[in-house]
Amino acid sequence: MSAALACDGLTIRFGAFTALSAVSLSFAPRQIHAVCGQNGAGKTTFARACAGLLAPSAGTIQIGGNPLRGGHVKDARAAGVELVHQSFALPPSFTIAEAMEFGLTGKRGAVFTRRGLQARWRGHLEALGVDAKPSTRIRDLPVETQQAVEIARALAGDARVLILDEPTAVLAPAAAEALFERLKRLRDSGVTVLIILHKIREVLAVADTVSVLRGGKLVAGPDDAASLTAARIATAIIGHSPAPAGDSAETAEDIGALVGTDLPHGHRHTLTGPRSVAALTGVTTRPGADGQSLQNITLTVGAGEILGIAGVEGNGQRPLVEALAGLVPLTEGSVTLDGATVTDLPLAERRKRGLRIIPFERNTEGLSLSSPLWENFAARSLLAKSALSLIDPAALRRAAHKAFQSWDVRFTSVDNPARSLSGGNAQKVILSREMDAEAKLIILAQPTRGLDLGATAFVWQAMRETRDRGLGLILISSDLDELFDISDRLIVLQGGRIAGQFAPPYDLGRVGSAMVGEH
């Protein structure tokens, strides 16, 4: 029997960078194949090449025994290959019915009425368990439903190979399990499933075979999942990449959290002081452009504490940061920082009182990519001064140089633009700027997203050290492994409300049900 999808010597280069290097793999039909590896291992590149979105620099891809013309999405789709993207690829203004339709090929039904279009897709959507009206707009859907729509879109035609790129990254644990059940049913109905994952726990729960990519090369697989252990997969994923530094008890749990073998349960940590560094009292905000708001949020962050904020993305995480930063007006409630009420103070004043933020989007909110590194670093001190004060560029350059060295940033010159840095180094630049001596409360929004294992471990270590200096930290993450591993306390946001508060040892089932609004 010929393979459902096979590649031979598949190599993909972006300029001088080789994202995939001579990968040869063959996937048997009617099975669930997991492809795993850490960030930057080439998983997404691999998925996109198989779907025809990227043209191989060398090597071939075969679908059902027939060669695929590289870089031709249409050909790949005609051969039955469909890709579900990590951050979904559906135009937000489309209705569900339109999103189902726009990718369809073939002459039939190219013209439609609105009602006809909805009727055309209602049955298909129901059959796949998509629980929303076909007339709902994509931007109004929660992420799980968006993903279900994207999967339904992928299955609208005659899909024989379904590729999913990190589908669990946006899902609550229960939704991930439901997704796995759905994929198993698809497999049993004859579809070959390729699933990109980075948590070993999930790999073992769903996959028939496992392949591991590291640094763009295939290091293992496809191996029968039944013959593998979590430890063996973890070794293949980590390889010789820098192991987390620090004391050994934490290191062992960090590694588990990094590759997602066993979910950490967290440790109780004694606060260095009883005082709170920040508090929200009854805070409510108006819905922003993305529809998110806060509803009656009351929370405190203690000195020497890491407060974890869990929740499915889009449930109030962004307004929480904005409320603490003074970027949205509150309709009700108050904010205190280091003992003083700052409800009506602008961000600049709050920063003077020790508020620091590692923002969600490091390349747009955290750094000015086109500006030199020293200017990015100097932004903190410059913004604290009046607009007419004189600056000393040479001194700022020296200060940046010194800070970057102590934070282990790999850079060639402080005059290089920020865009010249890799994700991990860029994040270190932000950390070096925001985790300074005058900081009191540090908000970290998805601080390790997209970072490789070494850089992730570095960020965690920096957080622990800062906490031990007596600062308060708020960690917003969609990765429960990360939250469980380093949070001293956990709050779950759901629909802009606090849906639960948890202390270690954390219980996945209870945190998970709070995330989806079950109590």
Binding site: P91, E98, G103, G109, A110, V111, A289
Partner: protein, 295 residues
Amino acid sequence: MMDLIVAVLRTGTPMIYVAMAGVLAQRAGVWNLGLEGLMITGACASAVIAEQTGSVALGLLGAVGFCVLLSALLWLVIEKLKANPIIAGLGLTGLGLGGTDFGIQAVYGSEGAVTAPAGIPTLGPAFGPFGVLDALVLAMPVMVFGVWFACRRTRFGLRLTASGEHPFAARSVGADPARMRLIALLLGGVLAGLGGAELSLGGLDIFSVGMTAGRGFMAFSAVIFGAGHPVGATFAALFFALVEFLGIKAQLVFGEHAPRDFVLMLPYIATVLGIWISARLRGGALLSAIEMRDG
């Protein structure tokens, strides 16, 4: 009342054709600031060709041809030379305004105007006050319906919209956003050419240098005011035409008492107000739409 309807239709129609060109481009992800340049090119080419050949039909054809060529040029500059679409569009507007000025001076000397031997055929006196409406005004509702249908009721339209709103999504289903933009710009060239021709051959049958006087930009504003929806943009353009008509009426009624410069400013003030209102209503959606391109 009849006068009002007729006058608004006649003033509005050229803008509506050009606005539909803008709608197509906007849906495909190009904020086409070259509309003013396309419109004046269409107005100029149609009048000059009609004057030289004596045929209005050839004039219309020529206007369409020139505008399609210029749109293809805009596409090349944006897609192949990777220029910023806003700047490239403004460049096209400069090219249109300057090129027609230069062309007229070169061919006809310094008069700055061309008189065509005839205009686009009208209904005729048998239809009373509506008799002055010409073929392009009558075809306008059909054209708007066609654009609406193509955008909102066909898979082609969905792919066009996806190409502008989320190019990666379009690529993921095998559509080529660059190709969709080419189609949208070329179709827009046809419509903008007709809109320009209607401006010069739709009544006075004269082309004079700079006669668009910002109407292409007003058409662009109508696209924003109408949120990229064909029908919305049409009503926005009709609204701008209504304001212009009321200004002229005010001058006739109040004579000297209506300050002339202020009256002439009215349509432009309405345009600025329209943009402001739509920005208030949609809370910065315009900016995010511009940033969205290839994001």
